[in-house]
Symmetry: C2
Subunit: 343 residues, 2 copies
């Protein structure tokens, strides 16, 4: 039932000027006298006029540079995960500050990314960031063809020429192993995320590599599906065997906290007295005093601003070459690792 909304023509008529004058009044730097602009702005405010971003985007489509909609697409899995929630929150603030809107798409599996991307592209987004999901070579090509910069966050794809920023997962795994080995642990277990997940696999590979250098191999391994419950269940399995690990490294903090809670509450085990525990990410809950989880921190703030900065410059100048940034994880010492008892 809504009546037709107010257009620049309505304002023009009311202000006694041409429609293009109204357009100019709303375009910073357009050739128009101060006085006339002010008049138009006033009339516009009275009428409650706001330029139609959709129409604006339509008409700028003409330029050879691709259509600027002012929207960037964001594709994300597991938004309810604290790590991603934080990431999205930060990203949202920064991209807004740069004058872009965020079109958010939640996907369940990695396969949905293509669909998501297709849908987003129909909205003529100026760029897209993909959180922890993979981009098919074919879609990468499509994006390039359309001049849409892509930012892969927390994931990289071999041989794909797109921007990415991510933590150095392999090194992070090494860091964890190094610390555990130096602390004298010998029966070291690993709990990974979803099976086949590249991030988890890279953390594991680095971890195992460093273990091998110390003459050790993985004592046991489980999958925890990147969830609290998954971590807890993995712990139960790990410690139900006759031979128990003396240290556990988890591919994410959420899983590590699952291990911790299960250990204390369901298995009557003390951390770090009965075994040492290391996580990955450094989510807020890891630092809660009662948890004190030792972990590998991802510098989320710096990573996100790098990602935004990079994406923005690519959107402003689509001819820029993709940049690939890797950040080093930092070992955060808290209370869940101690020197192994000899024997």
């Amino acid at each position: 039932m809504a009546k037709r909304s107010i257009t620049s023509y309505d304002v023009a008529k009311a202000a006694g000027v041409s429609q293009s004058a109204v357009s100019r009044a709303f375009s910073p730097g357009a050739p128009i006298s101060k006085k006339k602009r002010q008049l138009i702005l006033n009339v516009a405010k009275d009428l409650g006029y706001q330029p139609n971003a959709i129409a604006r985007s339509m008409s700028t489509a003409r330029k050879d540079t691709h259509q600027r909609s002012g929207m960037v697409g964001v594709i994300v899995t597991r938004l309810q995960d604290p790590f991603f929630a934080q990431t999205i929150a930060d990203f949202s603030r920064l991209i807004q500050a740069q004058g872009w809107q965020m079109l958010l798409f939640t996907v369940d599996g990695e396969g949905d990314v293509n669909t998501a991307l297709n849908t987003l592209m129909q909205y003529k987004i100026d760029g897209v960031v993909i959180l922890s999901a993979i981009l098919s070579e074919q879609m990468a090509k499509v994006c390039r063809a359309q001049g849409i910069p892509v930012m892969l966050y927390n994931r990289s794809v071999e041989g794909l020429d797109v921007n990415h920023v991510q933590i150095h997962n392999h090194d992070g795994g090494r860091l964890a192993a190094d610390f555990l080995v130096e602390a004298g642990h010998r029966r070291i277990a690993f709990i990974g995320g979803e099976d086949g997940d590249a991030t988890s696999a890279a953390r594991e590979a680095g971890f195992v590599e460093r273990l091998a250098e110390a003459g050790l191999s993985l004592f046991s391994r489980e999958s925890g599906n990147y969830t609290f419950e998954g971590g807890a269940e993995a712990a139960l399995r790990l410690f139900s065997r006759s031979e128990r690990p003396d240290a556990v490294f988890c591919a994410s903090d959420v899983m590590a906290l699952g291990v911790m809670h299960a250990a204390r509450t369901e298995m009557g085990l003390e951390i770090p007295d009965d075994f040492s525990l290391i996580g990955f990410d450094d989510i807020p809950a890891a630092g809660w005093p009662g948890h004190g989880l030792t972990t590998i921190r991802q510098p989320v703030g710096r990573m996100i601003s790098e990602a935004v900065e990079c994406l923005v410059s690519n959107m402003r100048d689509t001819s820029l070459a993709p940049s690939k940034q890797r950040f080093e994880g930092q070992l955060i010492l808290r209370k869940t690792v101690k020197r192994a008892q000899p024997g």
Copy 2:
């Protein structure tokens, strides 16, 4: 540098049909023969053509029903908060399933809501949901005038004729008080969210009301700013006085967990032996075994589907009257409340 993207004209030419045929091929139910549609769809796929949602939205603007952009705006504060993260995650999935896209706007203070709404309206969103923030009467009027349905989630505004779904905060507060009183507690404290926050105030009011019926008044109160750290600090203040509470009710789980961790780790207090604790929301971490936080659960799943359903029907038929839904919180018994020691 991107070349002009593929339009319906390109497809028309390649398929040897008119442009309008292409349009019809992509509009379900449009008058076109099966054979021709199939041909066009094939050609389109070969060319990598996808209809331009922006342009589509432009041209449908003509109808007297308001412009359908296929986007709904979402305005949110504190996205990093687990409760909101869960809410957004659920909302995102449901609204996508209904065929809408989500334009997400993060605001810092309540004052920014107007700005956010204005920006979103420039994108001609079909509807908007506002999470835990207030809507000015003036903006409500503007939305109505433009035929944009508004859904207030987790907040209501007296005398404003817009949709809302929320938890019954007052009753939730009563529930908490009732349980504590029945358990024999007498020195009962409250930790609120941000000062002046209506949600927290309503929970407190219900809480205090039930206390009064038992002949009690609030033993003490603090503000915890809806954060973990705020809750922890509030606890420190609460227990540094000579007279200590025997029970604490927090306006949110995050704050309650702050209290719990501070109590155990920094104050050497046991829960529930030294005092009882109740939270509000029932976020995932509340149920973690080591926490076992007794709390008032918000049925997020049901609330969100109600919100989406309501918003969607309002978007499909803008003449619908606003609906106001209130859900009852549910007391979840876990391990942080016990009968008070006599004396």
